[in-house]
Symmetry: C3
Subunit: 168 residues, 3 copies
């Protein structure tokens, strides 16, 4: 095979890698953009399926951190009375664009999430919570899934600032 053909083949292989990287970033952004619609529609199974079978979801409840372990506990959260009340009143889990660090078959994404709720008495929407989010992701059999999502409420607690400071 000529040198020119070898060069072309190298260019093609290099380009393939670059396209695969862009595709991975797009799939991760899409996964994160899927969370809100899944959880705000009460789609428990679709929400849980974003996580790895043994994935965890840790978030602030008061000053503490609660941990949901595995898809069953995530489904239960969506189906539970607290979440059902929130979505029946009217709610958006509004997530910002993520900064994604990709490393082969794993990734870490950093973004914000805002829970905006509707108050039927005053007929007004309001910002209920804003959190710093870190998503640890892994690609299994070609599908990106959440290994751990960690949310710290942005109410002045040090952990939230520390999470954001690790992002890049």
């Amino acid at each position: 095979m000529s040198n020119e053909l070898t060069e072309d083949r190298r260019s093609l292989a290099d380009l393939l890698q670059r396209v695969e990287r862009l595709e991975a970033l797009e799939e991760i952004a899409r996964l994160i953009a899927s969370y809100g619609p899944a959880v705000d529609s009460g789609s428990a199974a679709a929400t849980a399926a974003l996580w790895d079978v043994e994935g965890r979801y840790r978030f602030s409840v008061g000053p503490d951190l609660v941990t949901l372990r595995g898809r069953d506990q995530i489904e239960e959260m969506v189906q539970g009375p607290g979440h059902q009340q929130i979505i029946n009143d009217g709610a958006s889990h509004f997530l910002g664009s993520a900064r994604i660090e990709l490393d082969d078959e794993t990734a870490v994404a950093t973004c914000y999430s805002m829970l905006v709720r509707y108050d039927g008495d005053s007929r007004r929407h309001y910002v209920d919570r804003v959190s710093a989010n870190r998503w640890v992701l892994r690609r299994t059999d070609g599908v990106w899934q959440v290994v751990e999502r960690l949310n710290h409420l942005l109410d002045g607690r040090e952990e939230a600032r520390a999470l954001l400071g690790q992002s890049g």
Copy 2:
């Protein structure tokens, strides 16, 4: 032609398709990111041009759904006294990242929109409305345009949750 060359050509054609998919997703995301700046600057023609000539924009007004049909009605909405008041007071139509389902020359995008307004009396910004959005898009002569945008207010109404539940 040798087998190796045939293979290279197939790889190149496959790569082209994958790049075209990423470009389509980027163009749709860009169209959606163009809505806010267009409507908040009062650019009536630029706003209407995001829609197909016969495109529709349906959104909640009170418990009902209002339908604007065609670019003229969209332009009129932007130029109308209601919208002019909103943007002269100060407003952001803040849209979230969309989850996009691409199918050749058509697409469906799901996202949230938040209207944040400024109240000159209290000198405070406030969240006026949060809606679930579904954008039905079509590519005509190489340009993505909105065939229908449907917004349901997230104030507890069932239609909003149903829209979000269809997105996956």
Copy 3:
């Protein structure tokens, strides 16, 4: 070299350009998604490093526009008592997706930013400011940096609408 090979080489060169464009858009989106985590974690050097050495950050303070010139002034803003108070109370600089106009080694990005703060007395989050943003960017030695970021508060001032109207 045969005609077919020449054609393949042209296709490959064309594809490379298209991938480079997608990569540039992705890098700019990532830069903008890095601002919030950097500034909300108080990472003064990481915030300043998003700017060009002589980059400027101009934003509304009351009816006027303040200009920070160069990385040192941006670092000082992050370390200053005003910003430290904001992040110690709990804050998110929540940025929306940008519409990006790319022109070789320069770019202009238009988006919104929302500062959501926490009020410890009422234990509530609130939207403190919403601004129209224009980012002028330049690629230097392969790295995208901010030449000028201009924010106009969306409180009804004409400059904010004018900025948004230039974006398309």
